[in-house]
């Protein structure tokens, strides 16, 4: 009796501490991601002129215009100072050129679209009342739109990147999967050495493989082509695939295949009809893993592409040299991260199976 109460208390204490730990880790993971997301919707004004920076992007901006002997003055509401602050040109008049400049400035700095006609009508109210306060809806996706304008080659490069990823998956899964099956099902001389040996492939820096590869790919006529790049990516991915597929195949009992053999199928038939369907989730996870690896790779792609860069290269070149604009960089990196995150969502069910019986 006493013991069972003790056990109950112990169990609920364990469960509580489990949830606290899980919530803690989740928070540590989400916290930075939240800001990455948040910044990507902020205007330049929010990220650079407010201190402390807002934690969530605003959906609209508030402006004020007043007038003195020098002309009109524009102010924007600064949330951190809790007051209106000077914005844009010190003063302006209602000439066409001034208003065009002003409208552009508001669009770039505050991500708000205010037409010249609107400003003109506001100015007439200022003439009458002395000042006007108005708010404008912020274009939340302005950074994303700007990102695709800055990176002119983004569209085709996404397509190329997808092709590279697809070829990488096909090569690494077919070649690696065969070897993985051999490691899982057969005993043969040199098995352990080979299995560790394929890992050693990953030990030579990939960049330095990429440079001699330029010559090989040129001989094959694959320079600057998606297939050429995936041939290089597959080098690292194959060794990963071998390990993962070996563990997947190991988790499927041999007895199932043997049963099929008894019923008169040959080995290939047994593999095709019994093992493969059972291994499919693990193989899918392995494929997605290859996808993430190839989708995110930058440096070999920089070496091996010239006129047909992959999407990560386009992002890298567009963003890294312009370190200044945090909001633009975050928008770009979220755009790049999105496909990989979606694929992660797909593989999460299979990931534990994928690492199931991994052994050296």
């Amino acid at each position: 009796m006493n013991n069972s109460i003790k056990r109950n208390i112990f169990r609920s204490a364990r469960l509580t501490s489990l949830y606290i730990v899980v919530a803690g880790i989740a928070l540590i993971i989400i916290f930075p991601l939240f800001f990455l997301f948040s910044f990507s919707f902020m205007s330049d004004y929010e990220t650079y002129s407010e201190w402390p920076k807002p934690l969530v992007p605003s959906v609209k901006a508030e402006f004020m215009i007043d007038k003195d002997s020098e002309g009109y003055h524009l102010y924007i509401y600064n949330k951190s100072k809790k007051d209106f602050a000077g914005f844009g040109p010190i003063s302006f008049n209602n000439s066409e050129t001034d208003l065009t400049k002003l409208s552009k400035y508001i669009k770039i700095q505050a991500n708000c679209k205010i037409s010249i006609e609107d400003i003109n009508s506001y100015l007439s109210i200022v003439d009458r009342d002395g000042e006007i306060r108005f708010s404008a809806r912020k274009d939340l996706f302005a950074n994303y739109i700007l990102f695709f304008q800055v990176t002119r080659d983004a569209g085709p490069s996404v397509l190329r990147s997808l092709m590279v990823a697809l070829f990488t998956i096909l090569i690494s899964l077919s070649i690696g999967g065969m070897a993985g099956y051999a490691f899982a099902r057969y005993f043969f001389k040199g098995k352990n050495i080979l299995k560790i040996g394929v890992l050693f492939v990953r030990m030579f820096p990939a960049v330095s493989i990429a440079i001699p590869m330029v010559i090989i790919l040129a001989k094959m006529g694959l320079t600057d082509k998606p297939l050429g790049l995936s041939l290089v990516y597959a080098v690292g991915q194959i060794s990963m695939s071998i390990w993962v597929t070996a563990s997947v195949f190991m988790s499927i009992p041999v007895s199932l295949e043997e049963a099929a053999l008894i019923f008169g199928t040959n080995r290939i038939g047994a593999f095709w009809h019994i093992t493969l369907p059972l291994a499919l989730p693990g193989l899918a996870a392995c494929a997605m893993y290859a996808f993430i690896g190839s989708w995110n790779e930058v440096i070999s792609a920089i070496v091996l592409t010239q006129f047909n860069p992959t999407f990560p290269v386009v992002v890298y070149k567009a963003l890294i040299r312009s370190q200044s604009q945090v909001n633009l960089i975050t928008a770009g990196s979220i755009t790049q991260a999105l496909p990989a995150i979606i694929f992660t969502l797909i593989i999460r069910k299979y990931i534990l199976q994928m690492w199931g019986g991994v052994k050296v």
């Binding site: 030990m203 001699p212 945090v326 770009g332 052994k359």
Partner: protein, 303 residues
Amino acid sequence: MTMKNPQLLLSMETRRKIMPYLLIAPVIIYYFIFWLFPVINSVIGSFKDIEDQWTLSNYIYIFKDPVFYQSVINTGILVVFSVTVEFLLAFGLALLINIKFKGSSVFLFLAMIPMALPAVAVGAIWTSGFATRGWLNSFLMTFGFIDDAGKFLFLAGGKYASMLLIIIVDAWQVIPFVMIILLAGLQGIGNDMKEAGYIFGGSRFQVLRKIIIPMLKPTITTAMILRIISAIQIWLIIVMIFGFNRIPVLLEQVVLNVDELGSEFFLRIGMALSVIVALIVSLVAILYLKVSGSFEKKDGDSE
């Protein structure tokens, strides 16, 4: 299982002998063309000067360069600290959450996001977070933990502060990855084994030390070896946060020479450096496998 046809059995026996080699042949061929050939090219290139004459000057140049020693030391510090810290934390977490709980699949998805993120995104998160006027200070200020005078100078800190930041960022991205591998291994250990341990009077710690860890050893070796290989080759995230040459590490120097400086001379230096990096990585990996006893198994040993 009874075989009706002895001849079929025999032919299957020979087939069983050839089959694995047939299955592995494509990998070997692939690696001959797309790995060994470029690697040999790189190694040869590292021993030649710009005029294509045999020389050791590339290596001498590297060994005379103080930045090289600095990058070796930095890499060493980063590897030792990040691999141990990440492993211990990941192992502890994996032990803790090794139960199916409500929302475990959502949690698994969350834990996998950091490793799916491209380096650009990870860099963006932390440069915008660790900047003196970044979101971390903003957050602390908004909720009144610090005032304007008490801002943390994360990125503007000294060398060791920067290294600490790198370790934290790396841990943030990698711990979930290591944890998932270990978790998968833990789930493979049946409950009956643990229960047997408890029945024979073992304490929780004894069960962990005598049953769980030995059974988990293959998984631990996998996780460690993958981590060591990639930890020594850390560079992109450092460059994304600090740029080139602030915190020199081995692979960053390779990329710098190969890609950024962009002349034939530096290309050869980069090749020599990558040979050195490959040697270091292999040495550490072999050392680890030796110490952990993974070579003790004989060929053809069953899994």
